[in-house]
């Protein structure tokens, strides 16, 4: 449709330079809003247009305004949940650390503006995980996975409890005790992240990671997820954090912290990807420092290509074979990183069997 060759490229250009939307035809707006919604960056697009004082024609502007309104509602809801978590977990006297969207929103970071999210993620010390689960259940959260296999999968192998749903509000809470699965190739020390957190006003028990760790977590999450539904959104999170904090002192700390957490390689790859795909400002010497931190290794060009292709899937109206294959490649890679081969084989065999039984498509669509 139109003269736009790639809708994801057009979307990225419009986010980076909103003035490009000036004079867009109605079908052009249809395509842009569709792509932004598919990539889950509609709120971000609305925010960026508003920041430069651009108003779309009335019909697409309704979609943009509604996305902003939903974003404001979600920030309010996150505040509510943070207070509820404070009440539920305060007696345990442990650090309860908000991650990702909830952390950006509660810390008031610029990257939270217009960002839409679903679940709330928290990180707690592994030693307290049993008490945390019990207290949350008493306070009205229930496990969303009732299947015995899923329960065991999460508890034995993963870095989080099975998702919990608040029975009254329907909000979903992911309780992590580390940032990557227990069976993963990389085993960052979550205690370090828990130790170096920042306080929030009025919420003595709730904390947020320092910006360095927020950035590292955001990158690691993107590079270990099996499905890139929010890939572009995550890249813009990375971009937003870097633009807000990226002075020289910050970069020193990012390199240092990545090394300490045994995550230099994935962070290096993620920065390269953000730089290449959306033009995130990463100084050349930072890449050099990462190479040094990872024993002189460069980022794998194959991996970069895989992600660049896979990011188009779902954003483009018609996806070619290459992005489909790349998405599958990332799915396989994520599982490969997640657990050793014998566990992986067992897990995938079980999942495939269940799928046949339920007549489900392999990659379910999003609502």
């Amino acid at each position: 449709m139109n003269d736009v060759r790639s809708q994801s490229a057009h979307l990225i250009r419009s986010l980076n330079d909103p003035s490009r939307t000036d004079g867009l035809t109605p079908p052009g707006w249809t395509a842009l809003i569709r792509a932004a919604r598919a990539a889950n960056v509609l709120g971000l697009l609305a925010e960026r247009l508003r920041a430069v004082g651009l108003v779309a024609p009335a019909a697409p502007q309704r979609h943009l305004d509604a996305a902003l309104q939903l974003g404001q509602r979600q920030i309010r809801s996150v505040r509510w949940e943070a207070h509820a978590l404070q009440r539920a977990l305060d007696p345990l006297r442990i650090p309860v650390v908000l991650l990702k969207g909830a952390a950006y929103a509660m810390a008031g970071h610029a990257v939270s503006r217009g960002r839409l999210f679903g679940d709330i993620d928290i990180l707690v010390p592994r030693s307290a995980i049993g008490d945390v689960e019990l207290r949350l259940m008493v306070a009205g959260w229930a496990s969303a996975k009732s299947d015995a296999y899923d329960q065991r999968y999460y508890r034995r192998w993963m870095h989080e409890l099975p998702p919990m749903v608040n029975v009254r509000r329907g909000t979903v809470l992911d309780v992590h005790h580390t940032i990557l699965p227990l069976t993963s190739r990389h085993t960052p020390d979550a205690a370090r992240i828990l130790r170096e957190t920042e306080a929030l006003p009025g919420l003595p028990g709730i904390r947020v990671p320092r910006p360095t760790h927020l950035l590292i977590h955001s990158i690691v999450h993107l590079l270990h997820e099996g499905e890139l539904h929010n890939g572009l959104r995550d890249l813009f999170d990375i971009d937003g954090l870097i633009r807000a904090f990226g002075d020289d002192a910050f970069w020193m700390k990012v390199v240092e912290a990545s090394r300490e957490l045994d995550l230099a390689r994935p962070v290096h790859s993620g920065l390269r990807l953000a730089h290449r795909v959306i033009g995130t400002p990463v100084p050349p010497e930072v890449f050099a420092r990462f190479e040094n931190a990872d024993a002189g290794r460069r980022t794998s060009p194959g991996l970069q290509l895989l992600y660049r292709q896979a990011l188009q899937r779902g954003v483009e109206e018609k996806t070619g074979l290459l992005p489909e294959l790349a998405a599958f490649g990332i799915y396989v890679r994520a599982h490969w990183l997640r657990m050793p081969p014998h566990l992986l084989l067992r897990h995938l065999a079980y999942k495939a069997m269940m799928r046949l039984k339920n007549d489900e498509p392999a990659l379910a669509g999003r609502a």
Partner: protein
């Protein structure tokens, strides 16, 4: 144009419809969907290909066949909005009602800044009557009766669409979906033309009734809520009518809203503002004639005051 001729033969449909307050693109290979749209939405346009002057599309809808082997074996119909596939597939014979249900779902879930409630809305001039819909309460039958027997303008038989900025209700006059026993009552009304009946759906037997042409012509004319009536039909029950407070009406109408919570403060204020200019009633009745009588009493007080 060979493409158009081919499209006519296999009834491939690709059409952009203005269904106030939105613009919808519908694509489908199902004959039944093409016929449904022809019958209820004014026929196929001369050229359905998109060009630069085409309008902005709010909902890009496709009704497609089942995945993999379900395309042929016990064929299914799926409703897609953009790339998302929100429902379980239905038997292919129900593709047309699936289109109507799916479209309602689009209004209920796609954030567009409208507060959307599950209710029938009819109007006289600019004064609207809202009938919130508890399942089985008789909302659809009463709505069809008011529309065809009493000359009210149909805004919608399923969705009350409120614009919070202005406090006005947006019409969305589309086919009324009539179920089971109501089919006999509604088909007797003069001017009511029914489409095919779809049996064995989740809601029993369903047929669609075309909205009156006058209601469709006035689809861009908004109305203001003057009355909220919660109907309760119980066969052969005595007639009751009770005025209820706005606070009570608020809680009950909020339950029937799809997105009040997601709209946060704006949703709350929108319902408050809507009820500020309205009187709210609860009615119980045992026959459609009794129900219509009560509505007549309630709404004629406007002239008496």
């Amino acid at each position: 144009m060979p493409y158009r001729q081919l499209a006519q033969v296999i009834r491939l449909i690709d059409i952009v419809l203005r269904l106030a307050p939105v613009t919808v693109r519908v694509r489908s290979p199902f004959r039944s969907v093409a016929r449904h749209i022809e019958r209820f939405y004014g026929g196929l346009p001369a050229d359905s290909a998109l060009n630069r002057d085409d309008p902005f599309v709010d909902f890009d809808i496709r009704l497609v066949g089942g995945a993999n082997w379900r395309r042929w074996f016990r064929p299914q119909a799926r409703f897609l909005l953009d790339e998302s596939d929100p429902f379980l597939p239905l038997p292919a014979s129900q593709a047309a009602p699936l289109f109507e249900w799916g479209l309602n779902w689009c209004f209920a879930t796609r954030p567009l800044g409208y507060l959307v409630m599950h209710a029938a809305v009819v109007a006289q001039g600019g004064d609207a009557l809202i009938l919130p819909g508890f399942p089985g309460a008789g909302k659809s039958t009463l709505c069809a009766s008011l529309t065809f027997a009493e000359g009210w303008r149909l805004l919608s038989d399923e969705l009350a669409i409120l614009e919070p900025e202005t406090g006005e209700l947006q019409p969305n006059p589309r086919p009324i979906s009539v179920k089971n026993e109501s089919l006999r009552i509604v088909s007797a009304f003069p001017g009511a033309t029914l489409g095919p009946a779809y049996s064995d759906t989740r809601k029993g037997t369903v047929a669609h009734v075309a909205p009156p042409a006058a209601s469709v012509d006035a689809a861009e004319q908004t109305a203001r809520c003057r009355w909220v009536v919660f109907p309760r039909f119980t066969a052969d029950a005595p007639t009751t009518c009770e005025e209820i407070t706005r606070a009570e009406a608020f809680t009950r109408i909020a339950e029937q809203s799809f997105n009040r919570d997601r709209m946060g403060e704006a949703g709350f204020h929108a319902i408050c503002a809507m009820l500020d200019g309205a009187r709210c009633f609860e009615i119980g009745y045992g026959s459609t004639a009794d129900g219509l009588g009560l509505i007549r009493d309630i709404t004629s007080e406007r002239t008496a005051q």
